[in-house]
């Protein structure tokens, strides 16, 4: 038997596979496709203090081996998430839950995280959403503001805080270091890459929001590179993500330095993507002669 269990800041996951925020709703609707308890954890839909409709449609554009989205953090607001969405999830899933929080001010991040604290096992703080203005990603592109959000959240929560970083920066390691020094318990990366498509016939952007976040297998090499860099820069557990769609991708991202791996866009193409990856992980590891998946974490770094 291969050991698949990993540990994120004291939270034990039966395996490292986690559906990524924004691609899995609040989880319970996927219970129609498979037993959610097979998952390592679930990262819930990005939650803000107030309810948000999000951006106008079209919000989706297709790309080669990927897609753009400009959903814009549609969610019912933290109070409804706590009162309705998370209890609904708990009826069909008993494993660890990651609450994903976004905001437009330090105060909002802190208030939302404080409310979420007792209802989730890990807080994933999104300072990287490319689809909202005057918030989201703007906190994650400067080390100083990334550190400020980290401190504000750490001051009001008792759960492990994972800062979710944007790849749309010059030096990802500077942001990761700032979060680490401000007390973050871990780093999640990467969020989507800022992208755009144009409808040539209409001579207009495809997305109503003009730009959107690029995800899917096409961005996987960027994720591997950034997880690698952050692993060398900080001594914190990393949740790696970005274009993961197979068990082989999970192995590769863990070798780059991830302790756990999120699966995003793949869920939208194949609702059973995470289950299929989990089912094929033991075989993938056996073929590599790996008996404990923890051997993989950072395993491609040699001095």
């Amino acid at each position: 038997m291969v050991n698949l269990s990993v540990n994120l800041s004291g939270v034990v996951l039966k395996n490292p596979v986690i559906p990524a925020s924004g691609t899995f709703g609040f989880g319970y609707e996927f219970a129609e496709w498979y037993d959610l308890n097979e998952l390592g954890s679930i990262s819930c839909k990005g939650t803000t203090r107030e309810a948000r409709f999000g951006n106008p449609t079209p919000r989706i554009a297709e790309c080669e081996r990927g897609m753009l989205n400009a959903v814009g953090l549609q969610n019912p607001g933290v109070d409804a998430v706590i009162a309705q969405e998370l209890p609904h999830l708990r009826q069909v899933y008993q494993g660890p839950v990651i609450g994903n929080v976004s905001g437009f001010s330090l105060e909002e991040y802190a208030q939302t995280c404080e409310k979420m604290n007792d209802h989730v096992d890990i807080l994933e703080v999104n300072i990287s959403c490319p689809n909202v203005h005057a918030g989201g990603m703007s906190f994650g592109t400067e080390p100083k503001s990334a550190a400020e959000v980290t401190k504000a959240v750490k001051a009001v929560t008792t759960k492990p805080v994972y800062m979710k970083l944007t790849p749309n920066v010059t030096d990802i390691t500077a942001i990761a270091r700032a979060c680490a020094e401000a007390g973050a318990d871990g780093i999640s990366l990467i969020n989507t890459l800022l992208g755009m498509r144009i409808d040539s016939r209409r001579r207009r952007p495809v997305l109503a929001n003009i730009t959107g976040g690029f995800s899917g297998p096409a961005i996987f090499p960027v994720a591997v590179r950034m997880v690698w860099q952050v692993y060398e820069a900080v001594k914190l557990p990393i949740i790696g993500m970005g274009g993961v769609s197979t068990a082989a991708d999970v192995v590769e991202l863990m070798l780059a330095g991830a302790t756990a791996v999120q699966v995003g866009a793949a869920n939208l193409i194949d609702p059973c993507a995470c289950k299929n990856i989990i089912d094929s992980l033991p075989g993938e590891l056996e073929a590599l002669g790996v008996k404990d998946i923890n051997e993989l974490i950072g395993g491609a770094h040699h001095g």
């Binding site: 924004g22 691609t23 899995f24 709703g25 609707e29 996927f30 129609e32 496709w33 839909k45 409709f53 999000g54 449609t57 079209p58 919000r59 989706i60 554009a61 297709e62 790309c63 080669e64 081996r65 990927g66 897609m67 989205n69 959903v71 549609q74 899917g216 866009a265 869920n267 939208l268 193409i269 194949d270 609702p271 059973c272």
Partner: protein, 243 residues
Amino acid sequence: MKQGIFTIRSNIALTSDVWQMSLEGDTSAITTPGQFVNIKLEGFFLRRPISVYDWNGTSLSIVYKTVGRGTRAMSQMQPGASLDILTGLGNGYDLSKAGQRPLLMGGGVGVPPLYGLAKRLVKIEGCKPVAILGFNTASEIFAEEAFKALNIKTVVCTADGSYGVKGFVTDGMPEDYSYFYCCGPEPMLKAIDRKATTSGQLSFEERMGCGFGACMGCTCATKYGNKRICRDGPVLEREEIIW
């Protein structure tokens, strides 16, 4: 909702850019007309959402328009090939509201889901549906014979007057009907809403990510709150729509 592998039995052109594909596979997740399927195509990242024309236990029929590279690739597929398809997506039409004389209005590739609906409505005792099919021009007409074969009154409208009633489906609407069901481009739905005198159900289109409710890519605001066209729709009640 189900994921399954379907085998193509036939794939034929109905007009210069509208095709009908018949497939064999498990259709048990399809419960009502107006639902759609989401088809994975080799070489394309997102699935293609296509409405259901008709189905029974093991056969599925879809009618689609070649609008881009993905649907053009579909039109080149040969019998015997297999496709990974998510079935039973969306809410579909509610047949219980039809009454005795429901009006079915479809425009262009909005026509196909109304065929599956008509076929089931005629089986309801005392229900005599009337179909109004709208196209731009005579060469774009399809499915007229199929509707007529159900022995229901079928009116065809063409925008340029090259066949049937000149004008839009709203120009073919009778005075007296019990309820309406429609599917087509948004300007057509809007025109129907302005003219209709009864309640009805309208099927909407939106660019989708997943097609089964996960990504929030196709959300619209309604009087009853935010709805995902793919999961809470594509059929909305007339009373809830915010135009």
